[in-house]
Symmetry: none
Subunit: 323 residues, 2 copies
Amino acid sequence: METPILHPIRYVALQTGLKPYLIRTWEVRYDVVCPKRTGNNRRLYSDDDVKRLKLLKMAVDCGHAISSVVPLGNQELQALVAQARNDRQGPEAIGSTASSGPRDMTQHVTAHAVESALARIIQLDPHGLEGVLSEAAVELPRQAFLQSVIVPLFARIGALWRSGELKIVNEHMASAIVRSMLWDMLRSIEISETAPRIVVATPVGHWHELGALIAALSASESGWRSLYFGPNLPSEEIGYAVKKCEAAALGLSIGHCLKDSTLPSELLRIRRSVGHRMPIYIGGEGVVFVRQTAAKIKAVVVDDLTAFRDQLERFMRDVPDGS
Amino acid sequence: METPILHPIRYVALQTGLKPYLIRTWEVRYDVVCPKRTGNNRRLYSDDDVKRLKLLKMAVDCGHAISSVVPLGNQELQALVAQARNDRQGPEAIGSTASSGPRDMTQHVTAHAVESALARIIQLDPHGLEGVLSEAAVELPRQAFLQSVIVPLFARIGALWRSGELKIVNEHMASAIVRSMLWDMLRSIEISETAPRIVVATPVGHWHELGALIAALSASESGWRSLYFGPNLPSEEIGYAVKKCEAAALGLSIGHCLKDSTLPSELLRIRRSVGHRMPIYIGGEGVVFVRQTAAKIKAVVVDDLTAFRDQLERFMRDVPDGS
DNA sequence: TGATCCTGTCAATATTATGTTTAATATTTG
DNA sequence: CAAATATTAAACATAATATTGACAGGATCA
């Protein structure tokens, strides 16, 4: 019998995103887990403990009270979280009560995060920006982080840039940092080999990666194996990647393209190169300019992340696992 | 029996990112490694020692206590680190990476790494590529990893692409992964606030970031605070960044530019926008095309990484810290 | 509305683990 | 030779942890 490796509390805090004092408080108040102790009374958590705490945090992030989810077993927690994720798009929940508790907090955190991130960007302070964003990333559920921090942040950067108040360097710095954060998140989602694969890219002439990365992340969270090939890819390259990877779908991200007249024909070529049966999802800010073409090539236009995930999960339900 | 190469402590410190006194303290307190000694009692570390220290630092960075990871073997450490990296957030999925650790000579390791990396790139297997490269990164000193794996790898990718044997997607995939690895390395080097700052970028029209990232990494290893602003930056943006960040130097990376006739004039503009006293270092594959212009604007052309570091360290000796 | 509960946060304190500095000495290096 | 770097042992400084108790803002209920 090998001694299983036990972890100190700061490791657990890093893994779960919970603060150390909260972990202790939960133990004292609710008996969430019962870690062993070292000879000097330091807590030692097992992998199971870590897993349980992760699930509990997820449940709490979904709006459940900690006291109410503590008695549940791991499986029930898993189910609860999965259900909450599905429900989110169902009951509208646009402006009304539903779960106002965490939402208010979230509102506050996100607004603050965007503002102080912007301040660091203006100051060209990469270190500070990274600090602000990674704090927000642990503070918030991933979804909220992406939709309420990253997306609005870059919307504002774009606006400020167009009005001449921000320079390209500012945008570059922010992009580099966010890109690496998203990449790390993407990598940290382990997906089974047999999961259906989706190729994610942006068409030729489109350089903005962030939308594509967010799409890849969303797909991975929906259980797909995302293959990210980055920006500015010609149609035949996309077709090649899709075939080579035996992908089950293709995701395209379109940034704001004011005058890109080549895009429609490029989309036609993409359709031709991936074959007429391959599902194509198109999203991003510039999507409004290609609705017609999208319809012509039978691509699905997704107007936001929720719609995208919805499509992916529906698809997965029809064609569950390894083809 | 060949005498294995042994290293003094400052080399080990450079490679691992640990401070010399910490290495000594760990030896005294925890018996982490047991280096040989010279006739005069200086420590001499083997490559295995270095590797072990690297792994220990990684484990500590993951939140483990040094005292608790010391008794673990290298293989266990590797597993621990991999687990910690993958497990952040999502509790499902128990990944198992079967990786044995054969100990070869550096020559052999690098050649093998480049070849198998190339194989993954051709197969469009991002996960595999990442595995190969990160294994090489622990196995090798950082310098060797950069100069003998990353640089040759991209040289070969470039050659294969020009000959039509590789597609753009392959290059994109490799770039994305390597970029994120380099970024992580860059971030993991801690530099004091007061260290002299260097702005690193590539001029307008030049999109290849890797050279610039490597330059930033080298500068950070030489004790500079690198500010990386990415590819394709117009001269006035570069000037702005340099001023805003109060940088003490500017590093430019030039990729292979066959027919870029605008580059010389752009360099002139850059010189004008940063002022005539600012040291400018120019490096990269395309450097051969701009020697004349470089001389005209009094920029220092560095032909390889060693030369670059040399310059930076010399500069630092003259103008040591703050001010 | 006011009282009460839930829950995250923080403060004070004691202890331990760990990182950093110092001092004295010796060796290396330019 | 002077300056930089190593070694050792000890001291010092920080940061992390545990424990207890308190507090505040939102949620809930009477």
